[in-house]
Symmetry: C2
Subunit: 86 residues, 2 copies
């Protein structure tokens, strides 16, 4: 996936997931630094209907395989660090 | 959910997700600092079968609602920060 292209495509994700991958809603997961193959799988599953979600099931069918690869590459490329443990 | 109890219960999750919530496998998502209601929903969906995964569909049915609340509280309580943007 192409990180720069993914950043552009992520503009449609930012209302819920943030452009930096920090969730804006209690139902939306953080995506920053998420494992890239996991993100690809999640989007493919929403696209095919194997996984369902009110919002994602509407959005994902419009994504091409390249869109999915780019979005996964972008969000995975945001570096995160654990800064505090309970 | 109880964070301390969740830490104990997370010992069964650490081979794939890490005790600090950093994924050990390309198929397993990071859980550190993940949105708590999202984690509860994910585990409940794996438990009921609404969401399917080779590993999680085996593990989740053995979790009580309290287990799920505790695990979600624990992983959500690990603080993460974005340290680098692409």
């Amino acid at each position: 996936g192409d990180v720069k292209a993914g950043r552009q495509k992520a503009l449609q994700c930012q209302t819920c997931h943030g452009l930096d991958g920090r969730s804006k809603l209690p139902e939306a997961p953080n995506l920053s630094g998420q494992v890239e193959p996991y993100l690809v799988k999640a989007l493919q599953e929403y696209k095919t209907g194997a996984r369902k979600n009110e919002m994602m099931s509407v959005v994902a069918p419009n994504l091409s395989d390249a869109d999915i690869a780019d979005l996964a590459a972008y969000y995975a490329a945001i570096e995160i660090e654990v800064v505090g443990k309970p």
